[in-house]
């Protein structure tokens, strides 16, 4: 495990059941590779993520957290984007307070077919985290 960590950063992805999960599944189907230390926790909507979970993840040793947001595709309504943005802002503040580099939390809208964009996000995030944390 330790050896693997050298090669890739541990990233926790919060993804949503109806929108970004299909994209992440499709990335697998298409065999688009990304670091295997990317773990996904699936939730109904990205605006339901509690900042405390994110902080807990850093505390437990995750290098980065990525929110695969529903964006405008959210099945629960258009307010999702705004609310997710709000909670990310709140988390950033909490991270600063706790001395965690805010860049370790990223968010992007991943629609149900955004497999390639997801994989690209994971790769760049991983590179960034490796450079800044494991240099």
């Amino acid at each position: 495990m330790a050896e693997l960590n050298k090669k890739s950063a541990k990233i926790l992805v919060f993804s949503t059941e109806k929108i970004s999960d299909p994209a992440i599944d499709m990335a697998g189907l298409l065999k688009l590779h990304y670091p295997p230390t990317v773990y996904t926790i699936s939730i109904p909507c990205s605006s339901g993520i509690k900042p405390s979970w994110i902080l807990y993840a850093y505390e437990k040793g995750f290098d980065g957290v990525f929110i695969a947001a529903d964006g405008s595709d959210c099945v629960f309504g258009e307010s999702c984007t705004e609310k997710t943005g709000h909670l990310v802002g709140k988390t950033h503040n909490l991270m600063k307070e706790n001395g965690i580099e805010p860049a370790r939390l990223r968010m992007a809208a991943i629609c149900s077919v955004c497999s390639e964009s997801f994989v690209k996000q994971m790769r760049t995030f991983n590179e960034y985290l490796l450079k800044t944390l494991h240099a």
Binding site: P22, I24, D25, Y34
Partner: protein
């Protein structure tokens, strides 16, 4: 609390998983977990045998829950929840781990990494299973009515089929007339019936059923609720013509006197129509319409026809249905300026235009006043693009073109057809049409993938050149009187309705089904089915097949009059809640009520309204709100397991 006993099943998926993930290692790594009572690997977790084994295991060992680590939960979560039910377990005690799409396949380049990840994913599932309690599903009444959107052949067939199944149907068509694309054609492939006649036949069947409401000139403008109880608002633009007072001759005169002329979209802009119009005499509904966007209100028509009534008002109708069936069809690709001479050469038209031409002309085929003899068809315009964004094959155009070419040849004298194709795709029985066309002397020229034909305009002449694969790559040219661009099917440019219902799109930008084979007419939005060419290119029979399938699906969702919904709703911890109203403000469904309990003002969740999105949870400062199955303790223990 008594310690849980759970069973873990790790699927080989016949190599899909086990080729990259060491499933035995996964099994060994999790069998020591305290609540794991059984840990097994299996070739196919979804097979009948394994399902039976699971039931036996659960019953024999009094398991409290099971975990299957296999493919995406989209495919088989339901299968295994049903296994739990058969073993007398509550289905919500089942937890799924996706180690195929998110481990073996995604990391097929790194077997060790994939195995490690699979172990963590299964451990996270175990962590979740620890808290997965038995839950009762909510039952809601479902409205036994379906809104069918789009009245082309797919929509009409779906409506008829649903009505036959004693289901109320609201058929909503944006255009003033029904029939969609098929109404535009006379000659149809594989039948002697004309498109117009087919539409007429379907329309008369529609009107036989009293449980079908046809709303033409109507658009859905609002969508609320969810499967079982969907509330739509439909905007209905008036025809400005009273059906009752309408005398056909007067109406005919009204059309004649109208001074407004606009390009006729029904005729693909080959000709003009009036602002008061009907596309063809036997069109349904039989009443003409006044196109308000272009009408100048000059009043000429009113003078000659009593039926014209400008006082009619736009209506907003409330429609309550249980399910929505989308049959919104396709657009024909519009070539770009200059693409194969489109819009830059006088003799270049598209296939739909050509089809209208051969349907509407007799004896002699002419275009721009010139008689047509040599016709060049350029295939795959807007399909199978290597540079453009339409990489897919449009499926139906080869057959459609050959059919049009053969029809033109039979109908008009001295026609020579030249087909500049990229490999004919007259699949199945349509091959016969291709063979017939060859025998009648049609000439087929095939281009290389990287050397498409070119259209050159020399004065009034239009020449099509190709390096023909079939003649050893020789450059061959044809002087064509008419160049027909075989334009493919593309998704509707106007996707207002798609965004309104949030229907996901596939790589080809058409509406996407959940699974091509398992759930081919369902979308990820519960209760919304898709039919016909809005899902991807299809011919008539294929559209009808999918329409009938979608109708069956919509019907079977609603036929019991009752639906079960997930009990995965939000919960309020009354101890922590101090009623600040933040959750109420965050809830998009008005599911949060302010109540007095034990002398304390707190929030309460209305379970039948709550959709379980969780938007209320992060906004709660005292952290009193949690989502069932996604509560902080579950998420955090999963995080523990994933590290």
């Amino acid at each position: 609390m008594k310690k849980k006993k759970i069973g873990v099943y790790i699927c080989h998926c016949g190599g899909n998983i086990s080729d990259y993930v060491d499933v035995e290692k996964v099994r060994q790594s999790v069998e020591g977990e305290d609540i794991v009572f059984i840990a097994k690997t299996t070739m196919f977790a979804c097979s009948d045998t394994n399902q039976r084994d699971m039931v036996d295991d659960i019953k024999a060992n009094n398991l409290d829950g099971v975990i299957v680590a296999s493919c995406s939960p989209k495919l088989h979560q339901l299968t295994f929840r049903n296994v739990s039910i058969r073993a007398d377990l509550n289905k919500y005690t089942y937890v799924h781990a996706n180690i195929r799409e998110q481990a073996s396949w995604a990391h097929s380049d790194n077997k060790m990494g994939a195995t490690e990840k699979a172990i963590h994913l299964v451990k996270a599932a175990i962590a979740k299973a620890r808290y997965a309690d038995a839950l009762e599903t909510n039952k809601i009444k479902a409205k036994k009515a379906v809104a069918v959107i789009g009245a082309g052949v797919a929509g009409m067939k779906a409506a008829i089929s649903l009505a036959e199944k004693n289901t109320e149907v609201i058929l909503i068509e944006k255009e003033p007339f029904v029939g969609g694309r098929v109404a535009q054609w006379d000659s149809l492939s594989t039948t002697t019936e004309t498109g117009k006649n087919m539409v007429k036949r379907l329309y008369s069947e529609l009107t036989k059923h009293d449980n079908i409401t046809i709303l033409t000139n109507s658009e859905v403008i609002e969508n609320k609720g969810s499967v079982g109880n969907i509330s739509l608002k439909v905007k209905r633009t008036p025809r400005f013509i009273k059906a009752s007072a309408c005398h056909p001759d007067d109406l005919k005169r009204a059309i004649e006197v109208c001074p407004v002329e606009v390009p006729d979209e029904f005729n693909f802009r080959l000709s003009n129509r009036k602002a008061i119009y009907k596309n063809y005499p036997s069109e349904y509904p039989q009443i003409p319409v006044i196109d308000v966007k272009n009408c100048t209100r000059c009043g000429e028509c009113e003078k000659v026809c009593k039926a014209v009534d400008f006082t009619e008002k736009e209506e907003i109708l409330d429609v309550e249905v249980g399910s929505v069936l989308m049959a919104t069809g396709f657009d024909s690709y519009t070539p770009e300026y200059g693409e194969f001479g489109y819009a830059t050469s006088d003799n270049v038209i598209t296939l739909p235009q050509f089809k209208r031409m051969i349907d509407t002309q007799f004896d002699k085929l002419t275009y721009n006043g010139k008689q047509i003899k040599n016709i060049a068809y350029i295939y795959c315009v807007g399909s199978r693009q290597t540079d453009g964004e339409n990489t897919y094959c449009s499926r139906n155009c080869c057959t459609s073109t050959i059919h049009a070419a053969v029809t033109a040849k039979q109908k008009f004298a001295d026609i020579n057809n030249y087909h500049f194709n990229r490999g004919l795709r007259t699949y199945g029985k349509q091959e016969i049409l291709y063979a017939d066309s060859l025998r009648s002397g049609d000439i087929y020229l095939q281009s290389y993938e990287d050397g498409l034909p070119t259209v050159i305009t020399e004065g009034k002449k239009t020449i099509v050149k190709i390096n023909d694969i079939l003649t050893n790559g020789r450059e061959i040219e044809v002087e064509a009187d008419l160049v027909v661009l075989v334009t493919g099917m593309v998704p509707r440019a106007d996707n207002t309705i798609g965004s309104l219902f949030k229907i996901p799109k596939g790589r080809d930008k058409f509406y996407n089904e959940v699974h091509m084979k398992l759930r081919p007419v369902e979308t990820v939005i519960d209760g919304i089915t898709i039919a016909g060419a809005c899902q991807g290119p299809k011919n008539i029979a294929e559209s009808v097949n999918s329409a009938l399938s979608a109708a069956t699906k919509s019907y079977s969702i609603l036929s019991k009059g009752e639906l079960e919904t997930d009990p995965l709703v939000a919960t309020i911890d009354p101890e922590k809640c101090t009623w600040c109203g933040a959750c109420e403000a965050a809830c998009p469904f008005d599911a949060i009520l302010k109540v007095e309990k034990d002398g304390k003002t707190i929030a309460e969740i209305n379970n039948t309204v709550c959709k379980g999105c969780g938007m209320c949870a992060p906004v709660c400062d005292p952290d009193a709100v949690n989502l069932i199955a996604c509560s902080s303790k579950e998420i955090m223990s999963m995080i523990d397991a994933l590290v």
